[in-house]
Symmetry: C2
Subunit: 113 residues, 2 copies
Amino acid sequence: MKKLEHKNCMLSILPVRDTLDVIGGKWKILILISIMEGNHHFREIERSIPNLSTKVLSDQLKDLETNQLISRSVSNGFPVRTAYTLTEHGKTLQKLILEMHNWGVLHRKKIIQ
Amino acid sequence: MKKLEHKNCMLSILPVRDTLDVIGGKWKILILISIMEGNHHFREIERSIPNLSTKVLSDQLKDLETNQLISRSVSNGFPVRTAYTLTEHGKTLQKLILEMHNWGVLHRKKIIQ
């Protein structure tokens, strides 16, 4: 492969860095998977991910909402219930998450060899 | 989608967490892209990624080698030159990196809207 100039290399790196900024870190992808798999309420999501604290979950949900990946709705009933669902934009991450899942399976096989 | 039991949810989450452990964080993917794009020597890789310190690059290269994603070779000439190249296992990440690149482009368009 031809060696790229610094500027061209940055053109490849920037979108990947954007993706890492939005979904990188230890928790965001795991929270998105939990919501995708049918956990919509705060306590459900919290219980589905081991070692995730209430404070961290709360902060991460706000970040995911800011990035338009999930939406938060509040029911009118009593008690009031808040539900988190994936937005259409959030759903565009499914292919990437599947790719991460498949590579994780492959890597574990490779390392165990 | 049917709500999954906690155990089943973990089956989906574990491989994704494995992937994040291996290539997550701020630098590893960027270092892999730099090597994929033709930078094979330490200083070349260092110069191709803004704000990456020598110490961090050195540590991350060791991690990538431990995970069998890159290999390190030392030339016999003088001065001795060390070169980093992607292993066959490292090359299996290309599809995932392309997916991260494409999603980053899509997300930037969405957020600018």
